[in-house]
Amino acid sequence: MVEAAAVEHRFRPGDRVRVRRAYPPGHCRTPWYCRGHVGVIERYCGGFANPEELAYNRPGLPPVPLYRVRFRSTDLWPDYAEKPQDVVEIEIYEHWLEQA
């Protein structure tokens, strides 16, 4: 675990992004339920060591940009049964995101 580092980052709050629909082996911190879905950047959190590398005792550097991405619950689950205005916000690293 490292503290936030300032890094070059591609997205700004309000940008629409799609989470890669990828299922690589190993450890990653991108929940399955958001893969392939479109959300909006809520904020940039800073740069952090890549957990996919840290998990194997590698340094995970240089730090990768981390964002909080906001998804509509009804986009994540078409049968979501509570309020249509509800959202889920998820921390996602930049290499999992593409412009939507």
Partner: protein, 193 residues
């Protein structure tokens, strides 16, 4: 987890702990000191921050912008992991989960409750938050939206609950007592005086 697998992990933990001590990586005293430090922290530290935010709007703004420096003003060290404070409003209620494992602001609030780590809470609160909140005895007014924060990576979260009505005359210390652990996670709201 079955009793059999729980026993397996307990033995594995004991074996790893013994090896770390035998090989001089850490001492038994260091392990005990860390456990004691973790157990000495609890949600009361969150209550102190929230009560100050309720009485001092400028402090609330600083807390929402940067928990580390705001907490330091009150002599509270949140440790190395960034914490994001999220404010409940009359329009939006917030709740925290880690769907991947059990990430929790331990350095601020101490050990998480057992249910926070359960597969049931982690899988259901994103999918049917009101149903889960109802099981905690929490019913939101009609029209309030829910924002679920999935603590998947390097941030940890605390919720700043709404200040209850009828607390105008209360001292900051009394207000802090209304801030329950569940209200800091978002499955509850602050207690009524």
């Amino acid at each position: 987890m079955s009793a059999e697998t729980a026993g397996y992990y307990r033995r594995m933990q004991a074996a790893v702990e013994e090896l770390l001590v035998l090989r001089g990586v850490v001492t038994r005293e260091q392990i005990d000191a860390q456990i004691a430090a973790m157990e000495s922290r609890n949600h009361e530290r969150g209550g102190v921050l929230v009560a100050r935010a309720w009485v001092d709007p400028a402090f609330k703004a600083r807390l929402l912008a940067d928990v580390r420096s705001a907490a330091a003003e009150l002599g509270i060290d949140i440790g190395p992991i960034p914490i994001v404070a999220i404010e409940n409003t009359r329009a939006t209620h917030n709740v925290i989960v880690c769907t991947l494992c059990s990430c929790y602001p331990r350095m601020l609030l101490g050990v998480p409750p057992h249910w926070y780590k359960s597969r049931e809470y982690r899988s259901r609160v994103v999918r049917e938050p009101r149903a889960v909140l109802a099981e905690f005895g929490t019913t939101l007014p009609e029209g309030v939206d829910i924002r679920v924060h999935d603590s998947t990576a390097d941030m940890r979260y605390m919720i700043v609950p709404l200040r209850p009505a009828g607390t105008e005359g209360m001292s900051e210390a009394q207000l802090a007592g209304l801030v329950t652990r569940d209200s800091l996670i978002g499955v509850g709201v602050a207690s009524q005086p």
